[in-house]
């Protein structure tokens, strides 16, 4: 079977969800949905044996072959790992949501449709081998995430959070598309495998660094890296199963996946190593620092997610160093990154579910109102304890192992002697250590402030009690995994991590068994990272105990100098700024718009004329000046002056008539008898028309025009006049080809049997012009008639908007 089609299975299933929801009222719709991720999980488990030996599986569905765009499902260690996370945690989350969302009160049809779309999109992101289809699925995750965050769309904060995440991730998505297209241009293919194979030819090309930065922007916005992390805490307005699934375990790791996937292409670049490592560490530090400030359980977890994503990101950056040196010290950063990625997905999922349980059973998530829940909710407490301790990096939980490897990698970086790491490298372990201390503090803060101590005097919205059994299944399974990973890290390493590492660093290894990393819980008494861990436990514990004293320090930072305030300011500024700009130039006055047009005509035309050196006057081609011509020109100019300076309507019309008759005289002396005739007749009729109409119109008036506006008008008018004159002169002086009129003159008698060349052109050679000129006249006549006869009453004629 073409397993690429399985990517679309969730979307296909989504079509049946509304039907099931409407028709089968007795059973929670989630039970049907649950089958999809379970089936997919079991199916994809079958690939583990393939990737174990470094094998891959490819399945292609051609979409737009002529442009090289197709859906290609490519399964190697990395994409399989993500696929299993998506389907596995997806199944647990669906199970959890069955008990979390009430089937009578919630719009489950919407919820599960969005969730299934998201699942498809996410599978597509991690399995896509084609850049364009990867981008397609990438944006689909943004859209489905937007829908899920705004699931309770009657709440203001949900809509705000949804919009914010949409703006930031779609911004990054667009940047990423730019990077993809640049890569496609450089490598002449959209296939990632082919790009990796030809990556050596890409280095040093013009767009290489630009493509690198653009793709990183996409990864950083999606994975909530500094300073784009601000959308993640606001996305916590989503239902908790969504937060657990999208905003801790899967979608936010899409950026990490992207970085890991493109490491073989970009790792040779210094910019890549520094950006990924640096931003990752900064995010780690920033997220952990601000997690302690939060009072909402989910906000603590959101900042903790940001921080942990930064940790994994920095490890991926460090893994790129392995492309520059053979030192074995740098080789296991990639292993550590993937290992922690698994760890984080597992424990963060369980922690979110616990936060959801607390919210569900007590009615609040505010940590200041909670306390002493340990004896009431023992199972939730155990799960939360295991998850938090793993997050803090304590034995005997999975997080301890990844924390050790993380510190080891950061310590190793200072020995790296390229890209100035020898000078600045010392900063990295220090920042990592401080961030780990804060991680320790917020982990303790999260679990102990909620579950230990005394219950608060103020009663909680609901009487707290343990969650129903069904809601506890998923978190308990995840918590058991957290413990299991600690005891069997090398099994996990062999089956899942090492194949993924080979995908990240294909140049270094040929098959997974070459990855010489053996995870040890005990590194010996002399190892640096052990002492760092002990020190951070001591410092962290002291700081946790004295927390009530220094937590107030966070209040020093005023609200208006935060990144959120910056985002808000940018949004308001762009809206108000654009509004103001439109109001500034769109005055509603026709004169203003005409001024813009004329000013642009003048500047563009004259600039072109002189820049392109097109202004040439060839006096020799001119016809001789005739006395009559001079006289008529003088009369015409005088008449024009009279039109402008006329005080009454009548003199203006007569002067206009004088202009028309002088034009007719020009036609006479320039040998155009038909024109002269027409002009005389039409000028007469026009003057009559003017006289007729002006009887009903008011007297000429300036309507209070100031000298200033008149001056501006005069300047623009002079500009247009001069421009036209210059264009006329130079156009006449440079005729590139002779006129086609010689043909008309030669054939008018033989072909058309006429003598008046102008008339024969009008009705014979170019009769179509005449046909439609007649049409214009008839339409004008009908228009005049309609305007005079047709009177819709004012009331019926009002605006449709009203």
């Amino acid at each position: 079977m073409e397993f690429v089609l399985l990517i679309f299975l969730p979307i296909l299933a989504a079509f049946f969800v509304p039907l099931l929801f409407k028709k089968i009222k007795g059973i929670h719709t989630g039970w049907f949905v649950l089958l999809v991720p379970i089936a997919l999980f079991i199916y994809y488990l079958g690939f583990v044996t393939t990737t174990l030996d470094g094998g891959t599986a490819v399945s292609e569905l051609r979409w737009i072959p002529s442009l090289g765009i197709s859906f290609v499902s490519y399964i190697d260690g990395l994409s399989l790992l993500f696929t299993l996370l998506i389907t596995g945690i997806g199944a647990l989350v669906v199970l959890y949501s069955i008990f979390y969302l009430d089937k009578n009160r919630e719009k489950l049809n919407n919820f599960y449709v969005y969730l299934l779309i998201f699942m498809s999109a996410m599978l597509g992101v991690v399995q896509s081998e084609n850049l364009i289809s990867l981008y397609l699925f990438w944006e689909l995750t943004s859209i489905s995430s937007f829908l899920l965050i705004g699931y309770w769309n009657t709440r203001d904060r949900s809509r705000f959070g949804a919009l914010k995440s949409m703006m930031i991730t779609v911004f990054g998505g667009f940047m990423m598309l730019g990077g993809f297209i640049l890569l496609g241009i450089m490598g002449d293919t959209y296939s990632i495998r082919e790009l990796i194979a030809g990556s050596s030819a890409l280095v040093g090309q013009d767009f290489f660094t630009l493509a690198l930065v653009l793709i990183l922007l996409g990864a950083f916005t999606k994975s909530a890296q500094f300073p784009f992390h601000i959308w993640l805490p606001d996305a916590m307005e989503a239902p908790t199963p969504v937060s657990a699934y999208l905003h801790s375990a899967t979608m936010v790791k899409a950026g990490l996946y992207l970085v890991a996937r493109f490491t073989p292409i970009f790792a040779v670049s210094e910019v890549w190593v520094w950006l990924v490592t640096g931003i990752g560490l900064l995010t780690l530090f920033w997220g952990s620092l601000f997690a302690v400030k939060q009072t909402d359980l989910k906000a603590i977890l959101a900042f903790s997610t940001v921080s942990q994503l930064g940790l994994i990101m920095s490890l991926l950056g460090a893994s790129a160093v392995a492309y520059h040196t053979d030192d074995a010290l740098f080789k296991f950063a990639a292993f550590a990154a993937i290992f922690h990625l698994i760890n984080h997905a597992v424990f963060k999922g369980s922690l979110f579910m616990v936060a959801g349980i607390i919210d569900h059973e007590t009615g609040t998530r505010d940590i200041r109102k909670l306390g002493g829940l340990m004896s009431i909710m023992p199972v939730s407490f155990t799960v939360a304890f295991i998850g938090s301790m793993s997050m803090a990096g304590l034995p005997p939980f999975g997080g301890f192992l990844s924390k050790e490897m993380f510190l080891q990698s950061m310590l190793a970086l200072q020995h790296f002697e390229l890209f100035n790491f020898a000078t600045w490298g010392i900063v990295l372990p220090v920042v990592a250590w401080v961030a780990s201390v804060f991680t320790f503090i917020y982990s303790f803060y999260f679990v102990f402030k909620t579950f230990t101590g005394k219950q608060k005097e103020k009663p909680l919205p609901h009487t707290p009690h343990e969650a129903p059994f069904g809601m506890l299944i998923s978190p308990v399974i995840l918590a058991s995994l957290v413990v299991a990973i600690f005891f069997i890290p090398n099994v996990v390493g062999k089956w899942l991590v090492k194949p993924a590492v080979v995908a990240i660093q294909p140049d270094l290894y040929t098959q997974p068994s070459d990855v010489a990393v053996h995870v040890l819980a005990w590194h010996g008494i002399r190892s640096e990272e052990l002492w760092m861990t002990i020190a951070l436990i001591i410092v962290g514990f002291i700081m946790y105990l004295t927390m009530h004293k220094w937590q107030k320090l966070y209040d020093i930072q005023p609200e208006y100098v935060s990144l959120n305030a910056l985002y808000d300011a940018v949004m308001t500024f762009s809206e108000k700024g654009m509004n103001g700009l439109s109001r500034f130039y769109m005055t509603g006055l026709i004169r203003t718009y005409l001024l813009y047009m004329f000013a642009f005509i003048i500047s563009i035309t004259t600039a072109t004329l002189f820049i392109k050196k097109a202004f040439v006057v060839d006096m020799n081609s001119f016809a001789p000046v005739s006395v009559y011509g001079m006289m008529i020109a003088i009369i015409l100019v005088i008449a024009v002056g009279m039109v402008i300076f006329a005080k009454t309507r009548l003199s203006a019309i007569i002067a206009l008539g004088a202009v028309g008759y002088s034009v007719a005289l020009f036609f006479v002396i320039f040998k155009a008898p038909d024109l002269a005739l027409t002009q005389l007749v039409i000028e007469t009729v026009s003057v009559a028309l003017f006289l007729l109409a002006f009887k009903h119109l008011p007297a000429l008036s300036n309507h209070g025009e100031t000298k200033r506006t008149k001056l501006v008008n005069a300047i623009i008018a002079a500009g247009v006049g001069i421009t036209v004159a210059l264009v006329a002169l130079s156009a006449h002086s440079q005729k590139l080809i002779p006129s086609i009129s010689q043909y008309y003159k030669d054939t008018v008698a033989t072909e058309a049997g006429g003598g008046n060349i102008v008339n024969v052109i009008l009705v014979d050679y170019r009769g179509f012009d005449t046909l439609f000129e007649i049409a214009v006249l008839s339409i004008a006549g009908m228009g005049v008639l309609a305007m005079i006869k047709l009177r819709l009453s004012r009331k019926e004629n009002t605006d449709e908007n009203k």
Partner: protein, 113 residues
């Protein structure tokens, strides 16, 4: 002669634009009239003012004026006449409805955006 014609055309355009930029609807219509005169003369001048005889076949004449611009102008004259007639009636109706010929007062408001 073309130089003089170019100046005349320039003056016609200048006057036309000046009137079109004014606030009175009447002046705008007069301005469009001047503008079409300018355009017609421009076409004629661009075709060249040479040629001894008008473009009507006659024995012994070989140097006719260029007939094509003349045909074009003839079409243009008729069309501009139709349009002028139309906007004259339009102005008449506008004045009848709004009791003003001041363009500054005919700018709509926010509800009409």
């Amino acid at each position: 002669m073309e130089l003089i014609m170019a100046i005349v055309i320039g003056i016609l355009f200048m006057a036309a634009v000046y009137l079109i930029l004014s606030r009175s609807i009447l002046k705008i219509i007069i301005g469009t009239g001047l503008l079409s005169h300018g355009a017609h003369l421009l076409i004629l001048t661009m075709g060249g003012l040479g040629g001894i005889a008008p473009p009507v076949l006659a024995d012994g004449v070989t140097d006719y004026a260029d007939p094509l611009p003349q045909a074009l102008i003839l079409t243009a004259i008729v069309i501009s006449f139709g349009v002028t007639a139309f906007i004259l009636v339009l102005a008449y109706r506008t004045y009848a409805e709004h009791k003003t010929d001041n363009m500054n007062l005919m700018r709509g408001n926010d509800e009409h955006d």
